[in-house]
Assembly symmetry: C2
Homo-oligomer: 402 residues x 2
């Protein structure tokens, strides 16, 4: 008989955001008159920039003519897009990345989830706590985390990110082989400084570990924090970086991202760049031409200006939430270098309870912090991706029920 | 130290089509004056249908306005597309499939490769030989095939598809837990009859095996062969079906496909439909809205008529190749229910040798049959996806060097 991957049965409940979506749907169905404001899942609301949709229209036109039609593209993505990434995301910040070190994909979620396939099942994984659940769930499915009991995985190294350490932990004392870092952080909204990242690179080098660095929110940095792990000396020998167009350019429903794997990154003499290239050729056929053309237009002067304006719009929302909830006496973190606000639950109530209070009484959808791991208990996450009007209204509604 | 997935090292050489692409590039670079005709990789050349590009333009316009913008879509794909699939691909053929049994994806290649994640690593896998290499390579990476030695995998059950059995084998005597079938077949171009498929369903039921049925080429069927495994009684309890828009609608560079997993399909009491849903939520964020809108337009009367015209164009190419090479004395199979021609190498030369002869002397790119497995030795595959002019020219060139 065909047997099932036994690791599925170990996963607790559903994928966090699918779970929240169902709870919200149920509430909305039972209360059709309520106007919910959704600041839970980190989905954007502003349209795609005109320069980008213009490029997508032009690409669709190309597909409509035999002379300009595009069939299978390169597994690693079109060179026009990889060149733009190389130039504007890296060279412009003084980071040298080779064209053949860039792999275009349908998003950072798939990449951070799929990268585990390159590694043996015996590796010890470390994550910050709280953490984006994809890193944990994908490694659980790969059998690296042992059993789930009492709210934690037995073989997972949790690195607590708390108010005490400003939500950026130092590397753990325990050994780990694979380390997932996300800065600016989802869910806490905090960026890591150069010194803090240097500490993690030193840890990875000392342990021969590999860092999977998710910098999906780097476009939101307003402090001087590094945008790339590769701004840190020595990272090319120990790190992989994943980026996304989702929050940078409104591509949550358009799907585009990329991963950088330096050729200098080897373990046991094997190049991870070569393995990822082989995996891409074996298991995918790349990303839609039309979408890649749209992504490249983000780097044009018009595209850049337009997407920056959208980012400024969201970051104004972040300021409104931060200032409004702080004025109401709540402890609020993040929202300066990231579109996420990490808010301490008043009265130390469980975060699912406060999530339901906000849903039922304020009609505001948030994300319960404990959904991001045990270290998220006592917090909720708000996103700055709503409209300005809805965001201001949500802050008023929350203040009214406190 | 981070260890590497040891199964990568077991894979022989490169992914077949990446390997061929490199050989062709090298030849082209060394012979810049030669006009190569590419009938190797199964990539289409006709533009996307006007009804489909019109839908994509409209979708891009939606993304450009806040009121009609689409962020994250449903993990399983938009309902408008799943409804069209349900109605036109299944109900119209008398097959009842639930909306929640359809999962939209970026293509049948990824789906057939990723479906293995649902299964334990101890399952015995069976494939036809020759076979689309993705089924084999993805299972090799998952550690199910043991070691590769002497051109075969030690734990893989090869089911020889030969001229003697018309390239549709009966189920093997050996036990298997996971069976990959592709009809109409890539590479041999042959469809399976209802009776033949019923034999495989009976086998799967007797062995509690799961069939992964790749029907990416069903739109090319001109005989009365079944288009779906679910046309066979009992298949809903033992089969998964993967479909693609790549060859049906010119989406090789646009990326869209879907997988059907009946709710009736369970193993060890576990619903594979539920597992795949959980995997989709955990590891992906679905497919671009613009692409799904394009896919749905394939099912409109205009879209259907236009894509059928393109399929007829390619199948005329198939006829030209078949008749031309048969007239030259070659044994040619396929090309009636599929856009692939499976051609016996004259003089029983190795297929890589004939591949190089055709490349160097006829300047025609083909695919060496042995690249699809040991049973492909002695054959080459030609595709019908070229232009009519290039296809006729290729046949002339091949005839000239025989």
């Amino acid at each position: 008989m065909a047997t099932i991957n036994p690791n599925f049965a170990k996963l607790p409940g559903n994928y966090l955001f699918a779970d929240i979506a169902r709870q919200v749907e149920e509430y909305a169905a039972a209360h059709p008159g309520d106007e919910l404001i959704r600041l839970g899942i980190g989905d954007v609301t502003r349209p795609i920039a005109p320069a980008v949709t213009a490029a997508m229209h032009a690409a669709v036109d190309e597909m409509a003519q035999a002379a300009s039609f595009h069939g299978y593209g390169p597994y690693e993505g079109y060179e026009f897009l990889r060149r733009a990434i190389q130039r504007y995301d890296y060279a412009a910040r003084g980071v040298e990345i080779g064209l053949d070190e860039i792999f275009v994909s349908d998003g950072a979620k798939s990449d951070t989830a799929n990268l585990g396939e390159l590694f043996g099942s015996d590796n010890v994984v470390a994550v910050c706590d709280p953490v984006y659940p994809v890193y944990v769930d994908s490694n659980a499915l790969a059998g690296r985390l042992g059993e789930y009991a009492g709210g934690t995985w037995e073989r997972l190294v949790y690195v607590p990110c708390t108010a005490d350490n400003g939500f950026v932990a130092e590397p753990p004392r325990e050994h780990a082989d694979m380390v997932y870092l996300c800065f600016p952080n989802n869910p806490t909204g905090v960026a890591a400084t150069r010194e803090q990242l240097a500490g993690w690179v030193a840890y990875a080098r000392a342990h021969d570990a590999v860092i999977v660095y998710d910098s999906a929110y780097e476009a939101y940095i307003s402090s001087g924090a590094p945008h790339s792990i590769f701004e840190i000396d020595g990272a090319a020998e120990c790190a992989i970086e994943c980026r996304s167009f989702s929050k940078t350019a409104g591509f949550t429903g358009t799907r585009l991202g990329y991963t950088v794997i330096p050729k200098a990154l080897k373990r046991g003499g094997t190049s991870l760049n070569e393995l990822w290239r082989r995996r891409a050729a074996t298991k995918s056929n790349g990303v839609a031409y039309v979408v890649q053309r749209g992504g490249a237009a983000v780097y044009t002067p018009e595209g850049c200006e337009q997407t920056q304006a959208t980012i400024a719009y969201y970051m104004n929302n972040a300021r409104v939430i931060r200032e409004g909830l702080q004025a109401a006496g709540l402890a609020v973190y993040g929202g300066v270098d990231a579109p996420y606000l990490w808010v301490a639950v008043p009265g130390a109530a469980p975060s699912w309870e406060f999530f339901r209070t906000l849903l039922h009484e304020a009609k505001v959808v948030t994300t319960p912090g404990v959904g991001f791991g045990p270290g998220g208990e006592g917090y909720i996450r708000l996103t700055a991706f709503g409209t300005a009007e809805a965001t201001a209204e949500a802050v008023e509604r929350i203040r009214a029920i406190l």
